[in-house]
């Protein structure tokens, strides 16, 4: 009975979303079947399209994993965007400092640098929360603006490419650039790293003792304290991990896609990562699935825009509605159950 209700509610969500899509498509005066066709053709129609889904999913999965670790421990990290920026700054700076390194050393070094930089950027609000009880929600948001603007300053000053007038760095030395996995698509090493990270996070959170403690702290701080877990340390630790994975997402975007540091390289990956973590129920495999799903939605919409003239911005409307419906699902279920009963009386 319960299971049937759950299944029905998801089917209802799909129906609502599809109807919403139809209405939106009609409202911009496009042809519905053609739009749907082009949506799916964009995702599955070609190797390139499909690879683009994976490319888009890469930063979403990495940052989503980070956010989910924070959520599990009760560190509400809204600052993945800023941490992504720091990952990007870190890999670029490392590349500037050690341009001659071979790939075998340079790539891991870049990833570690990104992890550390993103981690530290999250660790500051983490420490402020643990030590003084200052809300990490507000701090991490504010830190996003700071990080974005620091990057803006850097690409105009010390990291600027002197040969070009635009505010961006020069191309990374070859050693630091992520190899492509499936030439000629843009799919790069970052995707593999995201998958490895997914497994790592799973092992960390469910098989290791530090991960166990992180989860315990997230569920009951008082009992954690009584059992001897240094709660504050673990909150700080979780902020470090949380920002670290977001940092790697930033590394992937620079070393795998753009090959140079530039403003606006992330179209809000850090914010979408929060949605990814929520939809994935803070479970690493769920996060990966949610990351792929949202990436597919975006890629499909782009194709819909190209082929059927439907503005890609409707993907954002759809995404928002999906999140809203899924989060409201359980509440709605009870609401309808009560309505039904009132009818009976």
């Amino acid at each position: 009975m319960e299971r049937l209700k759950t299944a029905l509610s998801y089917i209802l969500i799909v129906v609502i979303i599809l109807s919403l899509a139809v209405v939106l498509i009609l409202s911009v005066g496009s042809d519905v079947p053609k739009s749907f066709m082009s949506f799916f053709r964009g995702i599955f129609g070609s190797l390139y399209g499909f690879s683009e889904v994976l490319v888009r999913a890469t930063p979403l999965i990495l940052a989503g994993l980070g956010v989910s670790i924070g959520f599990r421990t009760g560190f509400i990290n809204i600052g993945a965007e800023g941490q992504i920026y720091w990952g990007a700054i870190a890999v670029t700076t490392t590349a500037y400092l050690f341009p001659g390194l071979p790939a075998l050393i340079a790539i891991p070094l870049g990833i570690v640098a990104g992890f550390v930089a993103g981690g530290i950027w999250a660790l500051i609000p983490g420490y402020l929360k643990a030590r003084f009880g200052i809300s990490e929600v507000i701090n991490t948001i504010m830190f996003n603006y700071i990080a974005i603007n620091i990057l803006g300053i850097l690409v105009r000053t010390v990291l600027k490419d002197p040969e070009y007038p635009l505010p961006m760095s020069s191309k990374l030395p070859n050693g630091f650039i992520f190899p492509l996995l499936m030439y000629p698509t843009r799919l790069h090493l970052g995707f593999l790293i995201a998958l490895i990270a997914m497994v790592l996070v799973y092992v960390l959170m469910w098989k290791s003792s530090p991960g166990y403690k992180l989860r315990v702290v997230g569920l009951n701080q008082r009992a954690s304290l009584c059992s001897g877990i240094p709660v504050k340390k673990y909150i700080v630790f979780s902020s470090l991990l949380s920002g670290g994975f977001a940092g790697i997402a930033g590394v992937g975007e620079i070393a795998g896609i753009h090959y140079k540091l530039l403003e606006g390289f992330s179209p809000g990956f850090g914010y979408v990562a929060i949605i990814v973590a929520l939809l994935g129920k803070n479970n690493p495999f769920g996060v990966a699935a949610a990351g792929l799903g949202i990436a597919a939605l975006q890629v499909g919409s782009l194709s819909m825009q190209r082929q059927a003239g439907v503005p890609a911005s409707i993907s954002w409307i759809i995404m928002g509605s999906i999140v809203l419906l899924i989060l409201a699902r359980s509440t709605l279920l009870t609401f309808f159950a009560e309505k039904e009963k009132e009818k009976k009386v």
Binding site: Y212, K213, V216, R222, G228
Partner: protein
């Protein structure tokens, strides 16, 4: 038979994960009757009441309330039909006032902007009618557990409940408070209310109730008139055997070595002294009972020893070494077992399963965690052993402990904290909510630990327990130790009562005796 009953539950079935928690259970309550529901931990008492109250939906059977067949889908409907329940674990909002808690969820006069003052007045009248000394404007967080219990009961009366269901109300009450509760129940009975009361204490059943229904393993065993039964028969019905009386043998282990020492220990909260300075030395193989009315510093004492609360002065010694600056983890690794008072908040992670709750005490041990990785096979094995030794009723070690019955949650904590033979044990209300069989078992376990040399600090509201187990009794009043008495069988209960009420010790006994 059922002609003059107000409530009739017939052949109620309820299954969890395929296991029957209630198997054709029947219960009949008459108007103006106090009816006891008796049974071991996990017998299905709370489940049966939750079904009546609309929290769970039954899988079979019928319920007749005042001659009408009913089916509640939520507590809201039960309340509308004038059935009220106080849960085993209270459901008040600590940050709200007494009166706000009482009217929570009600559409009071003037809703959504109710007239607080007139509501408060009404509640004040109700409180004084039942002789409860609480103000409607008090914050619930400032109340003792006993106080919260009163708020829960007044909440039901404010909603005009005709049938009151009380799930182990006396587990958290002091003997005096229990007496007052019974007076109120008596009054309610005279006014025509019916009461279903769940308790594990047979003397209470005999004292207050008209009839008793006994459950075992989710089935009816018997329903008897209280006047026609006695404690031997009832315990037989409950656990199928007679209770052994617990006997304590003299401390022969190391009567001169200290296990736990408190040296001029003091605790402050918000700049106010709330505990001590007090000194106490628990020797190896000794159990000291802390007697006192709840809220006289017991919590601060326990927390200061564990280390979750900083002491403002003084020292804590564990096994002869100074542990004052040791972390909680270090104290636990030194061998401190801690049976917490508040099991759901301090001791258990309700949404984790049994194995992960067992791990909470084991994660620093080699056996269970090797180079950072949890050896779940070993944890599982230990958890299963605990289930067997402590007879914990569970649907499986992989199920969240939220689904364990109250007494079984307590058993799990005991099994975990007593594992590995800790040399120092803080037992804070160790048998609260346990059935008589389990209580006997736990007391036996504590005595076993004592016999093998552990130092035990027993903090309990149950004077019988303190008399039965302790070598010495320390009386705590307003955070100070009034006296330490040798429990040689000659302690005058009245004298002890006077000490607990803060009347000074007789000349001759030092108010802070250091042994």
């Amino acid at each position: 038979m059922s002609t003059n009953s107000i409530l009739l539950m017939k052949d109620i079935d309820k299954y969890f994960f395929g296991k029957a928690a209630n198997d054709k259970v029947s219960l009949e309550v008459k108007p103006g009757e106090i009816h006891a529901l008796l049974g071991e931990n996990g017998a299905g008492k709370t489940t049966l009441m939750n079904i009546l109250y609309g929290i769970y939906q039954r899988d079979g059977g019928r319920i007749t309330w005042k001659g009408e067949e009913i089916h509640f889908d939520s507590p809201r409907e039960a309340i509308d039909n004038r059935i009220g329940m106080v849960h085993q674990h209270f459901m008040l909002v600590p940050t709200l006032t007494v009166s706000q808690n009482i009217t929570l969820g009600l559409k009071s006069e003037g809703h959504p902007f109710p007239n607080r003052r007139s509501i408060d007045e009404k509640i004040r009248e109700l409180l004084s009618a039942y002789d409860v000394h609480i103000s409607p404007t008090d914050k619930v967080s400032s109340l003792s557990v006993g106080g919260e219990q009163w708020v829960e009961i007044i909440k039901l009366l404010y909603r005009n409940a005709e049938l009151l269901i009380l799930d182990e109300p006396t587990a958290v009450l002091t003997p005096q408070e229990t007496k007052r509760l019974f007076k109120v129940l008596e009054k309610l009975r005279q006014e025509g209310h019916s009461v279903i009361i769940i308790t594990h204490r047979i003397p209470e059943v005999l004292e207050i109730t008209d009839r008793v229904t006994i459950l075992r393993d989710g089935r009816n065993v018997a329903t008897v008139h209280t006047s026609e039964t006695g404690s031997v028969e009832l315990s037989h019905y409950m656990i199928g055997r007679e209770l052994k009386t617990i006997s304590r043998t003299p401390n022969t282990v190391c009567p001169h070595e200290e296990g736990l020492g408190l040296d001029e220990l003091a605790v402050e909260e918000n700049g106010r002294n709330v505990l001590g300075p007090l000194s106490l030395s628990v020797r190896k193989g000794e159990m000291i009972g802390i007697a006192g009315v709840d809220g006289n510093g017991q919590k601060y004492l326990a927390e200061a020893v564990l280390g979750v609360r900083d002491c403002s002065a003084g020292k804590v010694r564990l096994l002869g070494g100074d542990a004052s600056s040791a972390s909680i983890q270090q104290r636990k690794d030194m061998g401190l077992g801690y049976i917490a008072e508040d099991r759901q908040n301090d001791a258990l992670i309700m949404d984790m399963d049994m194995r992960e709750n067992v791990l909470l005490r084991m994660y620093s041990k080699r056996e269970y965690v090797k180079s950072g990785f949890i050896k779940y096979a070993n944890v599982d094995e230990t958890a299963k052993e605990m289930i067997d030794t402590y007879n914990i009723k569970t649907a499986g070690i992989g199920k969240p402990v939220r689904y364990l019955s109250g007494g079984n949650q307590q058993k799990l904590i005991l099994a975990r904290e007593l594992a590995g033979s800790p040399p120092v044990i803080i037992a804070f209300h160790p048998t609260r909510g346990l059935d008589i069989g389990a209580t006997e078992f736990v007391r036996q376990k504590l005595l076993e630990r004592r016999a093998s040399g552990s130092s035990i600090l027993l903090i309990s509201a149950d004077l019988d327990e303190i008399f039965a187990l302790s070598d010495r009794i320390a009386v705590l009043f307003h955070g100070k130790i009034m006296a330490v008495l040798e429990n040689d069988g000659n302690v005058d209960v009245n004298y002890l009562g006077r000490l607990m009420a803060g009347e000074a010790a007789e000349s001759g006994s030092d108010s802070r005796r250091v042994e």
